[in-house]
Subunit: 221 residues, 2 copies
């Protein structure tokens, strides 16, 4: 481990997973440091004093926070198996869609999982509309990154796995073949890729947590 | 104008200004296309169908939206007078602070301008706390970019000018020498730089708009 790469993360976190998947795609060995999010370590607080959150990548003793910032760092530090295209225009398009996903899809789908009744209906409609827009970026491509998994795929994997499992728990199917055919196909392809399969946290372990969370919120309501 | 660089923007918009300032810092000639935001042109809607917003940079016929995405594109396309440092770690730090400003300062200061009473007090405290954090990135430096204006400076100029004018209208001083000495000094330096001075929209024209907006909201309340 000559490069001294450490990831401060949590096993179930999709944001930690982004960083780990990027490193795996590059074939970079790293040490995974599991944080207890209810009792964060002094090292994590030292490395990310601003947000006090995981993930943090520490490379040669220097910490970097914020998953999307970390992905760009990883791509600039280890240039093989690029996560972003080489052409500046294509890079801008990738950054545009990653930002669109972060700002217009992530929270809308999450709120669809967490809300009820007419509020849930509203979030679901908004999520669906934005996912249809996101899908246009997949036209004629296997992954957002083309033939290989790229920055946008890594950003969006939370949708294909974590959010999809959360939706399952509340009995909603968003990424249906009929409604979002390209996103549906993309999610299948992505989750069937060996590097992704090997890196994802266990489905049943996540499902148990999401179900318990739902029951707690139902009992609290 | 062999490069065919066009900026679809609006004269008073800080987000348009980001793009224009970046191009000016690079010495890239561009055609400025003024949009009527109450009646957006078919070209703007064609070039930014997702957000339908300014600014849009069109380079050799290809459109790019979202000011922060455009700044990265400009820096990658015209590599002289870099907006981001060369070192990947320093680049990550710049992206971290730009993101922090966008997510934790911009809206908080804006809400301080727009709200009243205890709500305003709450937004102001949060804004102040986050600006104190932002300020730490200026330690020992003239600009966030070091000796030269960089990506973070361009992102934050909305604070030094537009938000500062809005605060003036509501009678609040946030960036005081006593409370935020480094940000105060930075704002002075930045606004006194000739390329910035030449590119900013006229102070009195903006002030008149901001005052009219405040009066309208006071009358509506």
């Amino acid at each position: 481990m000559s490069e001294e790469v450490k990831v401060f993360g949590a096993w179930g976190s999709p944001m930690s997973h982004r960083v780990e998947l990027a490193l795996r795609l590059k074939g970079i060995e790293y040490e995974n440091i599991e944080e207890d999010l209810s009792n964060k370590s002094p090292l994590l607080l030292k490395y990310n004093p601003v947000h006090k959150k995981i993930p943090v990548l520490v490379h040669k003793g220097k910490p970097i926070a914020e998953s999307m910032v970390i992905l760009e760092y990883i791509d600039e530090t280890w240039k093989h198996n690029p996560l972003l295209p080489q052409d500046p225009y294509e890079r801008a398009m990738a950054r545009f869609w990653a930002k669109f996903f972060e700002e217009k899809c992530l929270m809308q789908v999450w709120m669809t999982c967490c809300s009820k009744g007419s509020e849930q209906e509203k979030h679901m409609q908004e999520a669906m509309e934005n996912l249809k827009t996101l899908e246009t970026a997949l036209q004629g491509k296997k992954f957002f990154g083309g033939e290989a998994i790229g920055l946008v795929d890594i950003a969006c994997i939370v949708l294909a796995y974590w959010l999809e499992l959360n939706l399952q728990v509340v009995g909603i199917v968003l990424i249906e073949e009929e409604k979002l055919p390209m996103l549906h196909q993309w999610a299948q392809e992505l989750l069937n890729t060996s590097v992704v399969k090997e890196s994802l946290p266990p489905r049943d372990k996540l499902l148990a947590i999401f179900k318990a969370r739902k029951e707690a919120s139902t009992n609290a309501a």
